[in-house]
Amino acid sequence: MSGIAGKPAEHTEQGLKGIRDTGLEEVRLRAFLAHAWRTPKGFYGWLVTVDHKLIGRRYIVTAFLFLILAGLSALAMRFQLAQPEAGHIGPDLYNQLFTMHGTTMMFLFAVPVMEAFAIYLVPLMIGTRNVAFPRLNAFSYWVYLSGGLMIWIAFAFETGADAGWFSYVPLAGPEYGIGKRPDFWAQMVTYTEVSALAVAVEIIATVFKQRAPGMSLDRIPLYVWSVLVTAFVILFAMPAVMVSSTMLILDRLVGTKFFDPAAGGDALLWQHLFWFFGHPEVYIIFIPATGFVSAILPTFVRRPIFGYLGIVLSLISIGFLSFGLWVHHMFATGLPQLGESFFTASSMMIAIPSGIQIFCWIATIWGGRPIFATPMLFVLGFIFTFVIGGLTGVMVASVPLDLQVHDTYFVVAHFHYVLVGGAVFPLLGAVYYWFPKITGRMLSERLGRWNFWLVFLGFNLTFFPMHILGLQGMPRRVYTYPPASGWGEMNLLISLSSLVVFAGFALFFLNLLLSLRNGRIAGDNPWGASTLEWATTSPPPSYDFSRLPVVTHREPLWAEPDTLPVVEGLRVDAREVLAGTVADAVPQLRVPSADNSIWPLLSAIAVGGAFLGSIYTPWAVVWGAIPVSIGFICWFWPKGEPEDEE
């Protein structure tokens, strides 16, 4: 960010500690900041860093690696299902494959990748230098990584979870769950939930307190609004699944009877707890994806979004409504009529705020001048497919209708339209959009177009026929089907189409690898976008901005294309960020920001060890508490640093 217009420095009284940026020339300023915010070189630096960009980047890479594993599981399943009574994959492996596919996609890919982008982008988009709790951020990544590695290593040793990503009891319970398989599943959930909760807390604190001066609530970029709402949904939904997975572990390990009807427990209790989390989970994935759309669209139609307020209110109401729908996963369990009507109505109602967003996006396109770059193609592909998913969602909200399609391929089609069409398409668009910012290089547009069309066509050819297959009576989670069922041809078409999707994703990864080395140099703002992350260099320096910007408009870079006003008075010889009021982002305090530390990693190892041990013995919780405490004590040990100032 060059050309400083400069607000007068507000805190320049004599006698204050440290060197301030006030009046400092740009070169020296950058040298000071680079030193204060540096990450040590080499492997050790990789372990101790608390830079949100490095952590966000490795979160994104890890999540995409899990996407590859889950995608390959899906491909294996399609191989088995291509023909009736095929014998390629037996029921034992097949059940593990679909469980690992669902579990990995939901817990290890979709939610983490959305969090990962938030970790990377939020500080840049709101004009600060790091997230609110940088070490918690590092900790959350290590916990997530160990949970994911654990369940996949278990799979490699034929202890892969096999009771579905929802692990219904009693099938996953002490009597019918096979070996330690459900335990690994339940503990993996605990790991990933701990990390998700940590990220949610960071995002909320960062967005509430660390926005650039002047970024009042009505100037927050819509993407940031979307991750803020998501963070609150995580905060309220995830504890439900942590409770239920812990109760499952307890039933299995120490013989509690939460879910055992013979001992006064209840098998349905699991479903209520799981779906109280499980439905909001879908929105935890979908809401940030709509944020991507709201961020990408204005850039490629060259106008601000239409209906900013309407979209914000829609996001918030989706967040609330997502907690009122869980029972629509349980219509087949038999409910009283009144309850059925309530959950039908609430499930249909959530279509209203989703509809508002779609209408506002279309109006935005109408009023702008569309540029058909790859990110825009993915946004359009998103609208095309997501509307189908939303409409089939309205169909399954109806109790009687759901009783025919529940647990069939119709539902498989529905939620892939919502999750792939509704979340993965915007995500791929987001990768094309922000890759230049993250790496400094552009992705190839040529490969991007091929990537889009293969994934888009392959996806629709794969999943649209599943609607029909479901109505024709094919249930989900079957490893084979009889030849006389008449489902064979459709399944063959689906399996062949899935290869097209696979080719599309192969091109995507190829594009990433090639462009990383040979991509065109991006520059600060290659798309001519309006939000703050494009004001800094690509890739951004460790301190994000050499001077923190002051926001005077909802589209800062369009309103002040040449020079952004900036804040002065922050220390440059130590890590410091600016904290302001929640509503108007009026600066209040300079807050020290945590330095690199090895303790988040060591604490994560201790926590991971305790979780892993508790699969085998309850004593792991007792003895594991000791290293965990040591880790946390060292992590939080006071260093005699100054308190927040002014």
């Binding site: 037996g90 029921p91 034992d92 059940n95 009771a163 219904y168 009693p170 099938l171 009597e175 019918y176 009807p261 013979a262 098998a267 239409f306 209906g307 087949a332 038999g334 009529q337 009507s341 039908t344 109505a345 249909m348 109602m349 279509a351 209203i352 509809g355 779609i358 209408f359 279309i362 109006a363 396109i365 109408w366 009023g367 569309p370 359009l380 509307v387 189908i388 409409l391 309205v394 169909m395 109806s398 109790v399 009687p400 209708l401 009783l403 025919q404 529940h406 647990d407 069939t408 024709q472 009576g473 249930p475 079957v478 084979t480 009889p482 006389a484 069922s485 008449g486 589209e555 369009w558």
Partner: protein, 358 residues
């Protein structure tokens, strides 16, 4: 005719070459009734043959129509938004907003939302009334069937007027055509879901809970159903057959099922019964009228009257029965039935004996 299961004619042709079948034609005892019934329809929610399923099918078609219309409308507007002609002022700043246009947008989006709400309310009401009309079927039943889910088969019980009148069978239920039948559902192990898409929506079988469903079959036929809630290894091979037939045929079936097993009628059958009772089969299976009284597996008293084996994994033919007894684990891996070592002669004898249990 491509069907979800074998037609009786196929059963007949399967059987003729079989040694056991040549001795006794009891294998085909079910055939006359099936021919009468005709082959039902492929397992599908799109071919409704009962009030419950038909009501839902109406809903599926009307909701699909609304969905297709809505989607087309949205895509049309999106296409117009992308392609409509724009004034060529390329240098305009992105922040220059035409306030007149914004007001039109507000009106358009507002109307779209109002329309959405209206359509959703109508769909909710339609769904409510469909649910109500399905619920109104209950209470009018003339017959009750109790179905208990097991990994991976269905235990079927008909309660008679006195205990001796009750019927126990497996994986196949018979219902009189046109009469509402109450299906009571529970499970003794994990959660299953009872689903015969041509006749009705599904209902879960949950351990510790009793749920129910009302079935009506409008026309005689054979309807295939399948477990719809993932229940472990052989979830894919847990099918059930509903045979809808005239009241007379149903009652005839009922009285045949009610009888104890026929005594072995020849040397081969006697040998088969002996082998059955002495090799462990009887620990898990009941054959009423013999000492075999295990309750782990399906009741076999009238095994040969059923159309299929192992929850519709195999058609009921001597060859299939022999293959199933010889090595159940290669046909249905994970099934609870173990492989029992029988000599070839014993195996043939057991197959002949079981084949006589019509």
């Amino acid at each position: 005719m491509s069907l979800a299961f074998t037609c009786p004619t196929q059963i007949l042709t399967d059987i003729v070459p079989g040694k056991a079948a040549q001795q006794r034609l009891r294998w085909v005892s079910a055939a006359p009734m099936l021919v009468l019934a005709g082959c039902g329809d492929r397992q599908s929610a799109l071919h409704a043959h009962g009030a419950n399923a038909r009501r839902i099918l109406d809903l599926i078609w009307s909701f699909s129509a609304v969905a297709v219309a809505t989607w087309l409308l949205v895509m049309l507007v999106l296409a117009a938004a992308l392609l409509h002609r724009r004034l060529s002022e390329t240098t305009r700043s992105p922040l220059e907003i035409d306030s007149h246009q914004e007001r039109r947008f507000t009106r358009a989006v507002g109307s779209a939302i109002a329309l959405t709400v209206l359509v959703l309310v109508m769909m909710t009401i339609a769904s409510f009334f469909a649910g109500k009309s399905i619920a109104s079927l209950s209470g009018t039943e003339t017959l009750a069937v109790r179905i208990t889910g097991h990994q991976w088969w269905w235990e079927v019980r008909y309660a008679g007027n006195d205990p001796s009148q009750s019927i126990v069978t497996a994986n196949e239920i018979h219902v009189p055509v046109g009469e509402p039948v109450k299906v009571e559902l529970d499970s003794l192990d994990v959660i299953h879901s009872f689903w015969v898409p041509n006749l009705a929506g599904k209902r879960d079988l949950i351990p510790g809970r009793l749920s129910q469903l009302t079935l009506i079959a409008d026309k005689p036929g054979i309807y295939r159903g399948q477990c719809a809630e993932f229940c472990g290894y052989q979830h894919a091979h847990m099918a059930i057959t509903v045979i809808a037939e005239s009241r007379e045929a149903f009652e005839a079936w009922q009285s045949r099922q009610n009888a104890v097993a026929s005594a072995p009628g020849g040397e081969e059958e006697r040998r088969g019964q002996q082998a059955f009772l002495s090799t462990g089969c009887a620990l898990c299976h009941t054959i009423r009228g013999t000492p075999a009284s295990g309750t782990v597996g399906p009741d076999l008293t009238h095994l040969a009257s059923r159309r299929a084996l192992a929850a519709d994994t195999l058609a009921m033919t001597p060859g299939a029965l022999a293959a199933w007894i010889a090595d159940p684990q290669s046909i249905k891996p994970g099934a609870k039935m173990p492989r029992i070592a029988l000599s070839a002669d014993d195996l043939n004898a057991v197959v002949t004996y079981l084949g006589s249990l019509e």
